[in-house]
């Protein structure tokens, strides 16, 4: 190197770095012109967009706010207004949230729901990701169960065919996904296994379950399954639906996880092998942490889908949130206010699904912190 520079007599001196030129912030009129009216077709799209919004929003405001009745009132009061009948929600919210659970005991499902959500939220924080979860979850779930079912601690026993609404939806969805998740990992690993029997079982399971609608599986679980059981043996209907949802979610999640496994470069497997790590060691320490991290978006996609799909359990006579809402509008007095019912339930679903979505975004950036993929 040195002889080359001495030949020419020149020496490389790096130029001092300069700051990037400051971005010019356009004024509002310039911004409008550049972004909304920069071409003739964008101008048309902008005008159409304004027209669509102008024709929807006033109606929504009228219905939701101006002509609405947001207070406890008899159904007759709602007949005199043209907007949303908030009185319906005031009247029926407890039935929608808790279904046919005995009215004066409804603090119990309420407490169970709060406890359950608390459990989930607590598990979302990084400092909690340790063995303490293995203690907290069984205790928390047992407490929820005692609250709902009763029979001890002076709580009246409430059979689970009276349970309904939000506790059912949350239980089916959250427990379904939580239990399906580890199963799906085994299914995904099994599908990539070299062992023919394990591979065949996993491929068969995934393709079979994915190939039929959830409704079919719920029907099988609730109608056909009891036919195969020996006489006198009955398995709780709610449990059967829960198992059906777990089986269904596991098949879908397995394919998501398999996609993640395939995305991990071969070199990672080889490095783990070359160091003498066993199959399970390399999966647990090397492959799965990376594969599960990159599949967070499709996993959450599946979770959100499952959360809403639990509304299908009404087919087999389990009273989830959607079912109790429909039950609420069966009341002759309030039967015209199904719009309010649907909006109320939609808001509940949205809050849960949107929280999941936001949490997954946070989780991605959290797991990404400090290092990037090679």
């Amino acid at each position: 190197m040195a002889d080359i520079t001495s030949n020419t007599g020149a020496n490389f001196v790096p130029t001092e770095p300069r700051p990037a030129p400051a971005a010019i912030r356009p004024g509002p009129m310039t911004w409008l012109k550049e972004n909304l009216f920069n071409t003739w077709y964008n101008a048309i799209l902008t005008l159409v967009g304004i027209w669509v919004l102008a024709s929807i929003i006033p109606g929504l405001i009228d219905w939701f706010v101006l002509n609405a009745l947001w207070e406890a009132a008899p159904a007759d009061a709602c007949r005199e207004i043209t907007g949303a009948c908030g009185a319906f929600v005031y009247e029926k919210w407890r039935f929608i949230l808790f279904g046919t659970y005995p009215f004066e005991q409804q603090w119990r499902p309420g407490a169970a729901v709060i406890l359950f959500i608390g459990l989930v939220v607590l598990s979302c924080f990084k400092p909690m990701w340790n063995r303490s979860l293995l203690v907290i979850w069984p205790i928390g779930l047992a407490a929820c169960w005692i609250l709902l079912s009763g029979g001890i601690f002076g709580l009246d026993h409430v059979p689970n065919n009276l349970w309904g609404g939000l506790p059912i939806t949350l239980m089916l969805a959250v427990l379904g996904c939580l239990i399906a998740f580890p199963i799906s990992i085994f299914l995904a690993l099994g599908r990539r296994s070299n062992m023919p029997i394990i591979k065949a079982f996993c491929v068969g399971y995934i393709e079979l379950i994915r190939g039929v609608p959830l409704i079919t599986i719920l029907f099988m679980a609730s109608v056909m399954f009891p036919l195969f059981m020996p006489e006198g043996v009955t398995i709780d209907k709610l449990l059967r639906a829960q198992v059906a949802i777990i089986m269904f979610a596991a098949a879908y999640l397995a394919e998501v996880v398999r996609g993640g496994l395939q995305a991990i470069p071969k070199g990672q497997y080889e490095a783990a092998d070359a160091m003498g790590l066993s199959y399970w060691q390399s999966m647990v320490f090397i492959i799965l942490p990376q594969a599960l991290k990159i599949t967070i978006p499709p996993q959450v996609n599946t979770f959100i889908g499952m959360f809403k799909d639990t509304s299908l359990v009404l087919i087999v006579g389990i009273f989830d949130l959607m079912f109790t809402m429909r039950g609420a509008i069966q009341d002759l007095e309030w039967r015209n206010y199904y719009k309010e019912g649907f909006v109320f339930v939609a808001i509940i679903y949205f809050v849960f699904c949107y929280s999941m979505s936001k949490y997954s975004q946070w989780l991605e950036s959290e797991l990404h912190r400090g290092h990037k993929r090679l």
């Binding site: 070199g267 490095a271 092998d273 400090g370 290092h371 090679l374």
Partner: protein, 258 residues
């Protein structure tokens, strides 16, 4: 680069016992005959450089030694253990053989330290503190101890490859395999990795290195092997190999790369 006379170092460190023997090894990828009747042995402490055109089977050859690739015919014995389908044998061999890859293959989700201690803790069942002490020792040796808490993605290519060497050394291997360790590096960074490998060679590590760094071969190799189309065409000690190749194919190859 340091130019230690190879004869000198060879005499001082090379033992007489053979740690790797390959006899009549054949391997096919589908119909493609990638290794043809390979007979090859390595003595303890010997430093071997394998070169040859791409597709000649040189990577496959060394990957058969720790069973990343399976051979279909012939015998491979590493440190007295024959490589068969027996998983115990494979694991025993892998615990003795360290490998460094062209693309480093560090674990991106683990810190440099965790990359180095994972296998000692879980394969060799070392206590964590002991594994970390060992890891720091080797990280210092490859001059990267100050980066121990960083993640691989935060390091340059040369630093990553030195971590990969330290990671392999943490298992205290008897044999080190290098599969084109400098091919993916910027030209200016190649030297820092080669220097690390030269240091290792001087300490008497048994090394098999697939590389086209002929300066490295001249400096440290006891024997240079030239492969083409799945066969060992020629092998000799480096001076004779480079100055007086016996085979025309070897000559043609050396004309291309030197």
């Amino acid at each position: 680069m340091a130019t230690t006379a190879p004869a000198e170092t060879a005499a001082s460190t090379m033992g007489t016992s053979e740690v790797i023997t390959m006899a009549g090894v054949n391997k096919w990828y589908g119909d493609f005959h990638v290794l043809k009747d390979i007979d090859f042995s390595v003595k303890s402490g010997e430093r071997i450089v394998v070169c040859g055109p791409s597709g000649s089977g040189k990577s496959t050859l060394i990957r058969c030694i720790n069973r990343l690739e399976e051979h279909q015919e012939g015998n491979i014995v590493v440190d007295g253990i024959e490589l068969t389908d027996n998983i115990k044998n494979i694991d025993a061999v892998r615990a003795e053989v360290g490998m460094v890859f062209q693309h480093f293959n560090l674990f991106p989700h683990l810190s440099v330290m965790d990359n180095c201690t994972l296998a000692p803790i879980w394969v060799k069942k070392q206590p964590k503190a002991e594994a970390e002490t060992t890891a720091m020792k080797y990280l210092e040796r490859v001059r990267i101890a100050d980066q121990a808490m960083k993640y691989p993605g935060q390091l340059s290519g040369g630093q990553q490859q030195r971590v990969a060497i330290a990671r392999a050394l943490c298992m205290n291997p008897k044999i080190m395999l290098f599969d084109e360790p400098t091919s993916a590096l910027d030209p200016e960074i190649v030297k820092e990795v080669l220097d690390t490998m030269v240091d290792l060679a001087k300490e008497g590590m048994t090394m098999i290195c697939v590389t086209h760094e002929m300066g490295f071969a001249k400096a440290v190799a006891d024997r240079v092997i030239f492969m083409d189309q799945g066969e060992i065409v020629e092998q000799n000690e480096p001076n004779a190999f480079f100055d007086n190749p016996q085979n025309e194919r070897t000559q043609a190859f050396l004309d291309q790369i030197l």
